[in-house]
Structures are given as structure tokens and as C-alpha cells.
């Protein structure tokens, strides 16, 4: 016997089956229940109330196959009987076809375990989010969704179900509704222990995510870049960079928020809540392997496993994260960073003149780079005659040109930028260049080099020289080993007063 409450719906003489003006319940009915109710009404000798069906009217519905409450029902509404989108919201477990097949509502059911309780699920049809009527904390859903109207499939019948709540791992699944019946979305979520910041800590923009605490901005650049890492030169299709030397654990949280349901960020004009992979965002159709749980890459054991195609800007890395990531290049090659190091000299006082560089083996600094620099007077950019060695910092660092000490903010290829002080009067033309690790007047107790890349298994001997004419100390000079182990070496000045 049908279980539909007759007070929930009404059927006009023209066949319009709609929600009653004052429905008795908000129950969700199986499609089979609707059919049984319609057939029961059609058995009546005359129509009654607001349900204008009887044996005198044509058959209102037809079921594909037998009545079987254990499987989804494919129902066809006949002879002008039709439902609207509102009625469809109160149906599940099957499909409803009407208007001679020109309109189709197909069942959609999500399954999957584990699923964090009350995980919100949203559906994207085409490029738009379906206005949710099943509740934001629904957990798994079982609904009817229109997939055909006016005889044409909506978005070819394709839909994608997402669950992306900040603080949980994400999930998404594609389904096609064209066949009717009930189609399945496989979705599974878990609590993400790597998410410690609240969603309110983030704000989205066009290709940016701004953090309040720590203060910083993560920027995504959608452009090709060929980069070398650990001696492996590969093409990448986008770059992730950020400010304030944030930790990768913080960057990961920002990226996850950026792809969450509530994100206000866009990535190459793709709303973050439906961002899936870099190749799709750029429309290059390279069939990148998606990472549903974390579209920009997962974070585990203190390490970021970036999704395919993304380059991590080495200059943005915090010194503690120099090896804490793994990339996948455009062609699918897994690339891991080589050992990186930072050299630090401690026990300094303000005014100490500190110089650290590779040792030449004969009690002096190794200045024989074979590289020269050219640049106009007052310029803050110089051009090198050749690319520096791979263990020269490409972010901020020190450069000596004609024995003039300078700092720089970046090296790209043969271009050194952000030179300070600027090129002196007369300019540089073929001036000899070498790259100290540290070449500065200390203003703190510790001075550090920029991040530089160590080749695997590589090491070198560094020389440090500390002098201070204002507070006379015996010039401190020694050598030490810099290896790939532990991310670099450090050295404390021994201060013997003269």
C-alpha cells in the first residue's frame, strides 16, 4: 500500500502534480511510493479533493519492471502528469521521467566510509553549485536531481559531488545521470590532523590566499616554468610561492582552505570550491592524477607532497622546510629536493665584520668562479657571464663583484636582481664575481647565509673570518665542514679580546 500522505501533494486537472499549499509533512518519499499513490488514486471511480485522478482519467504513471521496494524505481509519468523541481526535492530512490522523455529527474546517492558525521555534501552541475536543499550537515545524501529538460541533457548529464569541509580531508566523485535510475557518488572524509587553523584565519582572492596569523600571502602563478631541483630539470605548469617564510604546514592549511566549500578564492578563474587539478584549471587537459583528499597536495609527517604540475618556490621556503616537500613535474616525474643548507655564525656582536665562503684549500676563500658581472652604474641588476653553481642561493644572498660586497634578493638564470648597494659609478663590465656565503657587518648575535642547495652527498669546507676594529678582538678565522646532513652547519665565534 502506498505510504504517501495525500495531504502533501495535489494533482490539478491538467496533470500538474505539486506540493500542497499546506503540506501535512516534510517526508521524503521513494519514487515507488509516488507511483503506488498515483495508481491508488487512479483506481477511484471519481476524483476527489485536490487529487484529480480516477479511472476516468488516463493512466498517470508506469513503472519500468515490477514493484520492488529493495531497488531504485524508474518511473514514467504519463498523459500530462508532471512534477516540478520542488516536488522532486521530496523524492528519492529512483528516477522520474515525464513529458514523453523530455524531462528526467535521476536519483543520486552518496556512499562511502568513513565519512565524518555531518560532512556537508554539495553538487556541481556544469560549473554551478546546485542550490542545496538537503541540509548543510547532511552526511550522505539520497536525492533526485534534474538532468534533462526540454529534451536536452543538462551538462551531458554529468555532475560531481564534493565534500570539502575545512578541517577534514576532501572528497569528490563524478557521476552521469543520463541513464536514470539511481547513480552513486563515492565520498569518504576523515578529520585532518594537519589542519589547526580556523577557517576564519584565511581570506581568498584571485590566485591568492591571505592568512591573518601568521600574517602572510600564498600566491599561485599559472604559468609554465622550467626548474631544476636536485639536478633534475623539469617543466612545471604553476608555481606556489608565499611571504613571510611561512612553514609548509601553514601553507598547506591555506591551500586546503582555498579549495574548501567556503573558499572565496579563485584559481585561474576557477572557484576554489571546485578546483581539482592544475591541468584542468589551465585547460591543458593533460590528465594529471587528481588528489581528491587535498587538491594542491597532501601533508603528512611534516612533508608536503605537492600535486602534479606545481613548483614550490624555493625562495619562499622556511629554512626548516628546505627538504620537507616532494614535487611531481608536468610529465609525472617525482622530484625531491636535494639537501639544502644554511650556514650560521654565532656569538657575534654588532659591528663584527663577518665573511664566510668556500675554502680554497690554501688558507683563503675560493673566489675562482670564472664568472663575471656587467651592469650600468646605479643599476640594481647585473648580468652574469654564466649561471652560478647550484649551491649558490637563488633567493637572497651575497655577491662580491670586483671585491665590492653586495647583497641581492634573487638570482634567475644569469640575472642578479635587488643588488644593494647598487652598481657604483662607472658600472661593471666583466667584473670578477664570487659568492660569499655571508659577507656583512653583523647587527645581531647570529648571521646566516641564504638557503643554498647541496648536491646529494656533497660537502665542502667553509672558511669564516670575523674582525671588529671597534671592539678589538683577535681576528677569528677557522674552517668547518658543510654537509647535506642536518641542513647545514653553524659556527660560534670565539672572541679573544686583543
Amino acid at each position: 500500500m502506498p505510504t504517501v500522505n495525500s495531504a502533501d501533494f495535489q494533482i490539478a486537472t491538467n496533470g500538474n502534480l505539486r506540493r500542497a499549499a499546506s503540506p501535512a509533512t516534510t517526508d521524503i518519499y521513494n519514487v515507488l511510493d509516488l507511483h503506488a499513490w498515483l495508481q491508488d488514486l487512479a483506481d477511484n471511480s471519481v476524483a476527489s479533493g485536490d487529487d484529480n485522478l480516477s479511472i476516468r482519467k488516463r493512466n498517470p504513471s508506469e513503472l519500468a519492471g515490477k514493484r520492488n521496494a529493495t531497488r531504485p524505481s524508474a518511473l514514467t509519468l504519463l498523459n500530462g502528469v508532471n512534477i516540478d523541481d520542488t516536488v522532486a526535492q521530496f523524492l528519492k530512490f529512483g528516477s522520474v521521467e515525464q513529458d514523453s522523455g523530455n524531462v528526467l529527474y535521476t536519483g543520486l546517492k552518496s556512499i562511502g566510509s568513513p565519512l565524518v558525521a555531518a560532512s556537508p555534501i554539495y553538487i556541481v552541475q556544469g560549473t554551478s553549485k546546485v542550490t542545496r536543499w538537503w541540509g548543510a550537515a547532511s552526511g550522505h545524501i539520497q536525492i533526485l536531481l534534474k538532468c534533462k529538460t526540454g529534451g536536452a541533457l543538462i551538462s551531458s548529464g554529468d555532475v560531481t559531488g564534493y565534500s570539502r569541509k575545512h578541517g577534514q580531508t576532501f572528497a569528490h566523485f563524478d557521476a552521469n545521470l543520463a541513464a536514470g535510475g539511481e547513480q552513486v557518488l563515492a565520498l569518504s572524509t576523515q578529520l585532518d590532523g594537519a589542519i589547526t587553523m580556523a577557517a576564519g584565519n584565511f581570506a581568498g582572492g584571485a590566485n591568492t590566499i591571505t592568512l591573518t596569523s601568521p600574517a602572510g600571502v600564498v600566491t599561485l602563478t599559472f604559468a609554465d616554468t622550467t626548474q631544476s631541483l636536485g639536478g633534475v630539470s623539469k617543466l612545471y605548469k604553476g608555481t606556489i610561492s608565499w611571504t613571510n617564510s611561512m612553514r609548509l604546514s601553514e601553507v598547506y592549511q591555506a591551500l586546503q582552505w582555498g579549495a574548501s566549500e567556503d573558499s572565496t578564492a579563485t584559481f585561474n578563474s576557477v572557484p576554489g570550491w571546485r578546483y581539482r587539478a592544475l591541468d584542468q584549471a589551465r585547460g591543458i587537459g593533460s590528465s594529471y592524477v587528481e588528489v581528491p583528499a587535498a587538491p594542491f597536495g597532501t601533508f603528512s609527517g611534516g612533508k608536503l607532497f605537492a600535486a602534479q604540475g606545481w613548483w614550490i618556490d624555493v625562495g619562499s621556503l622556511n629554512a626548516a622546510d628546505l627538504k620537507a616537500y616532494q614535487l611531481i613535474s608536468h610529465d609525472g616525474t617525482v622530484v625531491t629536493p636535494p639537501s639544502s643548507a644554511v650556514v650560521s655564525i654565532g656569538n657575534l656582536v654588532a659591528g663584527d665584520r663577518v665573511l664566510v665562503g668556500k675554502d680554497d684549500g690554501i688558507d683563503d676563500f675560493d673566489k675562482a668562479t670564472g664568472i663575471t658581472a656587467s651592469g650600468s652604474a646605479a643599476a640594481t641588476t647585473v648580468t652574469l657571464s654564466g649561471a652560478p653553481a647550484s649551491d649558490v642561493p637563488t633567493g637572497a644572498g651575497y655577491i662580491s663583484i670586483n671585491e665590492n660586497p653586495h647583497t641581492y634578493t634573487g638570482i634567475s638564470g644569469v640575472t642578479v636582481s635587488g643588488l644593494s648597494p647598487a652598481v657604483p659609478g662607472g658600472g661593471y663590465s666583466g667584473a670578477a664575481v664570487w659568492f660569499p656565503l655571508i659577507d656583512t657587518t653583523a647587527d645581531a648575535a647570529t648571521e646566516s647565509s641564504g638557503n643554498f642547495v647541496m648536491g646529494s652527498g656533497a660537502s665542502f669546507v667553509a672558511r669564516v673570518r670575523v674582525r671588529n676594529s671597534a671592539i678589538p678582538i683577535v681576528p677569528y678565522e677557522t674552517t668547518f665542514d658543510v654537509t647535506e646532513a642536518g641542513g647545514g652547519g653553524s659556527n660560534n665565534t670565539i672572541r679573544d679580546v686583543e
Binding site: 503506488a36 495508481q39 483506481d43 479511472i55 493512466n59
Partner: protein, 128 residues
């Protein structure tokens, strides 16, 4: 219109006594429609597909197959038939039994009324 013939030896008119004339739209007589193999408890209606009106006499054109022994039975309905060619002889039979257990799919068939009896074999398919 009634034609009255006075006098002795009035002749019957079109089979009607006392000179009562039959209109072209009047039935010629009655026939028996047998709903063979109809499921007991099914509601039936017999209509004219030309305008969805009930067959005549209307009181006989709808009803319920009576209960009794067995699931199916041959149920007889007495209806009017008309002059050959009349659209009133084209009848649509609908049987429905979707409220009980088991439920049956709606069954429709059509017959042409004629003198004597007409058998409509009813094949009501269970829907469960």
C-alpha cells in the same frame, strides 16, 4: 419525434410498437460484453474513445468485478449497440486494480459493439 398512426391495423415502425420511431442516434438493442479473465476486485469502466463519455446505459458502463472463487472470472456486462458504422459502437475498456495486493498494471483494450455477445480477453499483468 414520435409518429402516431391512428386507425386500425397500425403497423410497427422499425420494430417499435405503437408507431414509436427510432432515432438514428438511438441504440438498436443490447449486447453482452464479456470481460473474460478479469481479476476479481478490479474496477472497470467502458467509454467511448471519441469523447471519453461512458458507454450506455451508463449505469452498466462502470463497476467492480465481483469477489468470488478464484482470482479471475468472466464478468458479463449488458450494453447498448448501435447501427453499423456508428462511432458509439467503438468502446474502450479499462480495468484497474492497483490498490490491492498484488497490484496490477492498468489494462486497456477496445471492442466494437454488435448484436449478441462480444468477448474482451483481459490480460492484467501483476506489477509485483
Amino acid at each position: 419525434m414520435t409518429l402516431m398512426f391512428g386507425g386500425i391495423g397500425a403497423q410497427p415502425c422499425a420494430g417499435k410498437p405503437n408507431g414509436v420511431g427510432r432515432l438514428p442516434s438511438d441504440p438498436l438493442g443490447s449486447f453482452t460484453l464479456i470481460l473474460k479473465n478479469s481479476v476479481r476486485g478490479s474496477r472497470y469502466v467502458i467509454e467511448r474513445p471519441s469523447d471519453d463519455s461512458l458507454a450506455t446505459p451508463t449505469g452498466s458502463a462502470e463497476g467492480v468485478i465481483p469477489a468470488g472463487a478464484g482470482t479471475v472470472t468472466d464478468h458479463a456486462v449488458t450494453l447498448d449497440y448501435y447501427a453499423p458504422g456508428s462511432s458509439n459502437n467503438n468502446l474502450r475498456i479499462t480495468l484497474r486494480n492497483a490498490s490491492g495486493t498484488p497490484a496490477y498494471r492498468s489494462f486497456e483494450t477496445q471492442i466494437v459493439a454488435q448484436a449478441g455477445s462480444v468477448i474482451a480477453y483481459c490480460s492484467q499483468e501483476p506489477e509485483e
